[in-house]
């Protein structure tokens, strides 16, 4: 036999975990005891950071389990040193929770793993607190069933977009109760819209220990959010970053993030950018394949940019393709109606990049009559041009839709 492929007679035949069967065992077909704990002694030394005041430290890169369907990928993540696993009831309709629970149990590492899941609670801040409390408690109980666990370390109120949701008395009561019951160790919120306000509200009081926040390279000029994260840290709240890849794993965003660059360079560059902010404890890039883990772990042990990564991040063409409006104002001269395009572009950024519709509308409302969307209506198509390749017409069309609401 050729040794090239590792023939069976010359190499130790590894009969370690049959991880893939974790999914089969979910079918009630057995699989118990198939997995053994993985030796992670050979894993590279990872940079660790404290998670707020929780008392634990985590590797700076963790696993967003979300849409991972191959249990072997989770085993590899554990082996590589990842310890924080983020899931939610909504991911794969609950299958994500089932799978991570099964793998962690079969690895026999429950006491070392940090499991984070979430509750989607309707109408927080608007409904009867007794109802939101009941929904929060019920959501966790259902998650624990799927996870086959008696507790999780981190339990997050999912999709928090307003201050009133953070302040929801029912949810806060539920979090306090769950901590007392030992069903959760730490409570938190995850936020995608209006993030600065949400973070500041969480920092102002309540049972919050952790926030999960969207943060990436495209938000480099969102000082309000960066300041809010620092406020959270000052109050002992740990920051976990999501959306770190700026949609880079989404095929529809790859073009935006730059063609002619390898996936690895793209992935590591934007991830390092996030983690070079020391207030971020850990990031949870989505992982669906083995390559992702190798890329992410390489970042977790060395945050220095390579030449390729530096080149990628400083590439003006890429920045332009991200459609950052530089607020230079040159476009105004190309518009026959002399519309205040820079302000409209800022409104678009608030609405669609920061997903803060309220602030977007507020900004739009500040545009004087005669230089805003009102005069855009007189044109059948946009003639304005951006020297940095921002697609003004598309953004204005999108702004029109929120303006109508």
């Amino acid at each position: 036999m050729s040794g090239r492929d590792g023939d069976l007679t010359r190499r130790e035949f590894m009969t370690k975990p049959l991880t893939y069967l974790a999914s089969a065992s979910l079918l009630g077909l057995g699989g118990e005891g198939l997995l053994m704990a993985v030796d992670s002694a050979s894993a590279p030394k990872l940079i660790m950071r404290p998670l707020g005041k929780t008392g634990i430290s985590l590797p700076i890169v963790s696993m967003g389990v979300m849409n991972a369907e191959a249990p072997g990928v989770i085993v590899r993540a554990w082996e590589a040193g990842m310890r924080y696993f983020d899931t939610a009831p909504i991911y794969l309709g609950g299958r994500s929770e089932e799978m991570i629970g099964q793998v962690i149990r079969q690895l026999g590492v429950r006491d070392k793993a940090v499991i984070a899941t979430k509750a989607t609670v309707r109408g927080t801040g608007r409904r009867d607190p007794a109802e939101t409390k009941a929904d929060t408690l019920a959501s966790l109980d259902a998650s624990l069933v799927r996870l086959q666990m008696d507790h999780v370390e981190v339990f997050l109120l999912h999709e928090v977009n307003s201050v009133r949701s953070v302040a929801d008395a029912g949810v806060q009561d539920a979090m306090i109760q769950l901590k007392k019951q030992g069903k959760i160790r730490w409570a938190g919120v995850s936020t995608h819209q209006n993030q600065a306000d949400v973070l500041n509200a969480a920092a102002s009081g309540g049972p919050w220990d952790v926030v999960l926040v969207g943060f990436n390279y495209t938000m480099s000029d969102n000082q309000a959010m960066i300041d809010a994260m620092k406020v959270c840290v000052s109050k002992g709240i740990g920051i976990v970053a999501m959306k770190t890849q700026a949609g880079g794993s989404n095929p529809s965003r790859k073009e935006v993030l730059g063609s002619g660059v390898t996936d690895s360079v793209r992935q590591s560059a934007v991830l390092k950018w996030v983690l070079q902010h020391p207030f971020v404890t850990t990031a949870i890039p989505g992982v669906t394949k083995f390559e992702h883990i190798d890329d992410d772990i390489a970042v977790a042990s060395n945050l220095a940019f390579t030449d390729d990564e530096r080149s990628f991040l400083s590439n003006n063409a890429i920045k332009a393709s991200l459609e950052f409006c530089q607020q230079c104002g040159q476009c105004v001269a190309t518009c026959p109606s002399r519309v205040d395009i820079p302000t409209l572009m800022r409104s678009h950024m608030y609405a669609f990049q920061y997903q803060n519709l309220e602030h977007a509308r507020f900004t739009l409302a500040g545009v004087p009559k005669g230089s805003g969307l009102d005069v855009c209506k007189s044109c059948t198509s946009c003639c304005a041009r951006c020297s940095h390749t921002v697609n003004i017409a598309r953004k204005i069309e999108a702004l029109r839709t929120i303006h109508r609401v």
């Binding site: 893939y20 072997g72 991911y91 929770e97």
Partner: protein, 304 residues
């Protein structure tokens, strides 16, 4: 049976969200045409219709990746209100039936309570999901205080009727042998099967042989050389992560491998297919001969 997870997140600011991505008017009209008549369902619309496509992240956060991975065309979101409950309806247009099956199957478990809705569906107290044609429909109910869970089936039936009368599984699933197949375990993956891009696309299912589970994955290449290349990549992968060697006693030209991620496997190519069996049964040659015979059957579809 494990509880199902809720399938939607509601906009909490009370305002309709808008898509940053243009969705053609004909697509919007087609999706709108699938919404049930309010009177027939005993429900009235309680929100503006919303459409999403590649901006689905704005609606369901990271869960969007899975839908986008199956080439989501667009989805429509509509909330309804009945006397006893609020109901959320999401209909995803995946462009073709196999993609709709793919995302549907990714979210189902063989242990769920299945219903003869559309091609197939399942429900729990507050959730009903089904797929039909190129569409995946997800209904969620939220009971008002003191009220019991509403019956979502009439609403789902109304949607199914609007989608049409064709209710057959995607032809590509015929590639899976039926003997020993665990019901409702079939999957279609067009992105990173087993965590590897090079195996895309693939159809897989679990088989129960003498009470033990084995997973059969069939990866489709564009030609025989492509299938052989996937075998080479598998050999390389198992060589690096564990062990691999020839397994002619199992199947001619086959290989046996083992590592700590998948466990024991057998793999080989046959025509344009690369076949991988995880945790092969005690007599893998018998099982895999059946697979080979099945693949050679001209009735088997290769359309994936």
């Amino acid at each position: 049976m494990m509880a199902l997870a809720p399938g939607v997140i509601h906009a909490q600011n009370g305002a309709a969200e808008s898509s940053d991505v243009p969705i053609p008017a004909d697509v919007q009209a087609r999706l709108s045409g699938l919404l049930p008549e309010p009177a027939a369902a005993g429900a009235k619309p309680a929100s503006e219709r919303q459409f999403y496509s590649s901006d689905l992240y704005r609606y369901i956060d990271g869960a969007a990746d899975a839908f986008l991975g199956f080439d989501l065309v667009a989805m429509i979101h509509q909330e309804y209100e009945t006397r006893d409950a609020d109901i959320t309806l999401d209909i995803y247009d995946l462009g073709k039936p196999l993609n709709a099956f793919g995302i549907y199957a990714a979210e189902r478990s063989p242990s769920y309570h299945f219903l003869p809705l559309g091609v197939e569906g399942y429900e729990s107290d507050f959730i009903l999901n089904f797929f039909q044609g190129q569409y995946y429909a997800k209904l969620s109910a939220f009971s008002k205080a003191g009220k019991s869970a509403p019956d979502l089936v009439p609403l789902a039936q109304a949607i199914s009727a609007k989608i049409g009368t064709e209710k057959s599984m995607p032809a590509a699933l015929s590639i899976l042998p039926k003997e020993h197949l665990v019901a409702h375990s079939e999957k279609f993956t067009n992105k990173s099967p087993l965590g590897h891009d090079f195996l895309s696309p693939a159809i897989e299912a679990t088989y129960s042989i003498e009470g033990k589970p084995a997973v059969l994955l069939i990866s489709k290449a564009s030609d025989a050389a492509g299938a052989a290349e996937r075998v080479r990549q598998l050999r390389n992968y198992f060589s690096k992560s564990g062990t691999v060697g020839p397994g002619p006693e199992v199947v001619p030209g086959g290989f046996r491998g083992s590592n700590k991620y998948e466990g024991e496997v057998v793999f080989f190519s046959s025509g344009t297919y690369t076949v991988l069996c995880v945790n092969p049964p005690p007599q893998p040659d018998l099982f895999l001969k059946g697979v080979l015979d099945h693949l050679a059957n001209p009735q088997v579809s290769s359309s994936f």
